[in-house]
Assembly symmetry: C2
Homo-oligomer: 129 residues x 2
Amino acid sequence: MANLKYSKQRETIKEYLRSTTEHPTADMVYDKVRETFPNISLGTVYRNLNLLVNEGEAIRISCGDSSERFDGNTSNHYHFMCTKCHRVSDLFNIESLDHINALAANNFNGVIEGHVAYFYGICEECKGK
Amino acid sequence: MANLKYSKQRETIKEYLRSTTEHPTADMVYDKVRETFPNISLGTVYRNLNLLVNEGEAIRISCGDSSERFDGNTSNHYHFMCTKCHRVSDLFNIESLDHINALAANNFNGVIEGHVAYFYGICEECKGK
DNA sequence: TTCTTTGCAAAGCGTTTGCACTAGA
DNA sequence: TCTAGTGCAAACGCTTTGCAAAGAA
């Protein structure tokens, strides 16, 4: 949380994540940020993505794909993944599913602290094809 | 789906998955099955796990951990992962959360086909510690 | 100066795959 | 016989890490 010095690279990554809704992978971030820093390395991108996630400036999304995705929108929301084009989009129509925690806690002897959930199906763009 | 020949190795893996509720990783399966087939290779374990999942004889579980887990119980149920000991357990107390698909579909222009969800928190064993 | 960040390259880890051989049908 | 499965080792894809140089405070 502390000991963080400013870096142009991290700032650029953070701004890119905030500006997009495409939920990029580290590789996609790398490609984008290289437009500004042609010499940036993938390692730096990974390091900064991890830092941003730890600082609460970004969210890590695992949708069963081979690589993780990142989201600069840290507000509580759910995601949808298209099984055809594998794009991840935001679902702002559901506010919260926290009631399912109570369902899970029923008759369970541990402590339910939260859940991870995402939806899948066919996105609007792929529907007609 | 077709062209499957019997193999002792696959049968042993399948039976192990059916007999346990520990949701083993491929490595854990490998360790277990080596008790019966000391020369089995990790590659064979992976190949058979994938075959079993494709045949519907097992389920693949991704809980954000580095490695995937497998479950021989193919009935519809949810999982709980302890954030302390990282054990995965079954939640038989919730039958279905399919109603959340309708919540997600509301005001969404694609097609919601299903969801992936798991719960996390502290398991009964770790609670007292 | 001091401590963090960077670029680079190598290593790490889980998983898959090519190949020659074995075994089920 | 014919085809699928096996063991082995190498390769793969994503991510992390060690190190010396560069940059922020």
